[in-house]
Symmetry: C4
Subunit: 223 residues, 4 copies
């Protein structure tokens, strides 16, 4: 593959990524300019990502930027998101990943602030995450630390979401839409399990039932 792609393909990905950012707003996962979605450009060593420091009101397709898999800007009039290096690292090391999302969504970030994995105590969580949502290391922005923490942590889990310690959530998917779904579901279960825990201990779901639910959801439901 190469670092070029037909303009029509890139334009379609820009449209998708712009539209998916609106889902982060709709589900209350982001404030101000925080958070970002990226998508791999099919057939090229490129991805489309949100520019840095731009209001969600102004995030149309034209505002999106295109980077190569080293995170270098290839096309676009603005600087790429400050999380671009993390996205690039994940695309380089996970060829199956076609889209990513990063947010500081409230309840998931609260679990991350305590460095505590979210236990799998809801059937919807078994469906989507196949077990607990794991915690990755504390990592400073500026090099490959965050990307490496995401890849390493996801490698030991069926979950498409990881809680980066003291920071927030990263999710991956075969497509950017799948990654956005994982980000929405991650916050939803982070909130429900938090609230359940406030007044006692949620009941466990047997590991075999989690397996059965996850297998059915991933292989049968809506596919």
């Amino acid at each position: 593959m190469t670092a070029t792609a037909p303009a029509g393909v890139v334009d379609r990905v820009r449209d998708d990524v712009a539209a998916l950012h609106a889902e982060l707003v709709r589900y209350g996962l982001v404030v101000w300019t925080a958070g970002n979605v990226s998508a791999r450009v099919p057939g090229a060593d490129l991805f489309v990502i949100k520019p840095s420091g731009v209001s969600y009101d102004d995030l149309d397709a034209a505002a999106m930027v295109v980077c190569d898999l080293d995170g270098t800007l290839v096309d676009g009039t603005r600087s790429p998101s400050s999380d671009t290096a993390a996205h690039a690292y994940v695309y380089r090391h996970r060829p199956d990943v076609g889209g990513q999302v990063h947010t500081h969504s409230t309840y998931a970030s609260a679990w991350a602030a305590r460095g505590e994995a979210i236990p799998c105590v809801l059937t919807a969580m078994a469906d989507e995450f196949g077990g607990p949502i794991p915690v990755g290391p504390f990592a400073l922005i500026g090099d490959d630390s965050i990307g490496r923490g995401v890849v390493d942590t996801l490698g030991g889990s069926r979950s498409p979401a990881v809680l980066m310690r003291s920071h927030g959530v990263f999710t991956v998917g075969a497509t950017a839409r799948d990654a956005v779904k994982a980000a929405v579901m991650c916050e939803d279960v982070a909130r429900t399990v938090h609230i359940a825990r406030q007044l006692g201990e949620p009941l466990a779901i047997a590991a075999s039932d989690i397996d059965r639910l996850h297998d059915r959801y991933q292989n049968v439901y809506g596919r």
Copy 2:
């Protein structure tokens, strides 16, 4: 009754069910494609239900699907909701039920995750539910377990809502609108009682007062 109905009747039920899905969104009871509403088709052994895996933005009347009381697709271009078997079971065993709702709404699901009934400590809860909102069994999707759990649990209660353990809420009503109302009120009281309990014990309402409130509301108010 039969598994056919005049097209005009089915069309009206499709319209109703599509519009009622928007109420789930308005009251924040659902995220992404989770949750569903169904309604029995008057005069036929059929019900209308949400298709599987479709965004709430795209849930117009035409997207709804029609099933018979075994849960088999009779009309529609998409697969029925993965919860269709549960709805079908309830319609077969509860001829008085004309509509159903299923959600993973946050506070109700938190009580369900602890397997704890919501105590009746608010007059609005006495009005609508006539007592605690009960907890049904843990049940896997894929056969009649969920439907049976819903029917069995509601059979021992005046509540139109049941919290299915580790899962979420099912509500029933004479009409789909009544079931949606029960789902909205269930989340509302689940939230208020949760918050009350965070800082102490809510005061009990005498059983005789619960009876009086429930009787008045069901037989006098707005009927």
Copy 3:
């Protein structure tokens, strides 16, 4: 005064009351058809109130109903709110009250469920309520019990809001707009003080400072 009024006056009050119901929705104080606003008709022994069991989407001026001070329907095509008797009692016993609001707003109702007054630990609460928001008795709907509980409890307080035990909030004001403001502020402070209390004890404000804040706000600010 009489139980008649110029049509133009009644029409203006209907407009106001309809518009104020939209504020209850905007601030998330109500779900489904719960809650109501009423306003006294100037120069007549009448008030305008919400009809019973009507969706907030359909609450235009024409839907509102007019009652006399015994709570008897005088004009309108629908039944008055089931809380009409309570509003009527308050208008009969508090000639200074020009408007009222009743809601089951979440945080205020949680304090009401515990039967606990909200302590005055925020300057905004001193401004609007002049002290704690008091708790009224448990009272069943159907006679003057609720209205009497509201009047008796407010009589011993500077607060325009009362938490009726196990039920919800009633607020009063010189105008219906003032009563809506009190309902909005009541839920706002009920929420903030609840959240403050979750992690420790809010600091007290000296009684003399509460007096000074309340006096300034009621007599100087925006009047």
Copy 4:
């Protein structure tokens, strides 16, 4: 500098301040008429601020008022916000401040009600605040007490936000937009850290890492 400015400059500031008030509503930082934004007029000893007691629906550019640095009304048809004296004090003593925001946003005010600083346990908090968000003194409205409390407390901190005890939040920025961003981020981290603390202790971030994050964000990111 003088207490006059070209009309075009003032008009542009009025537009900005009106638009920024809409951000307070969008992010749920204010109810009813509470809260306010102000902005210094470039090249003049003036600032633009919200009028007192006006609904957020009616806050267009024309409704804004212009004051001199003593807080005296210079232009506008309404009374300035009752917090004008505090804003004026800050502009007089902090020439680097170009904009300010005051809110009673829920979670930040809950920390303020306990008189407790928000610990810096999130990377986004290190970025924006460079450490804990500090608590200022209890101060009554009506003289320079609040403004002095804000200036004194911010003087000992890198944070652009201060929690005024038993009251709410004040934020400052080089521009009014920066101050609004600080108010939005303050409530966001107040909420996330509160929720983290509900189920245990958030993990500390090393002081040197907070320094590195803050330095990078203030000097590199988006500037």
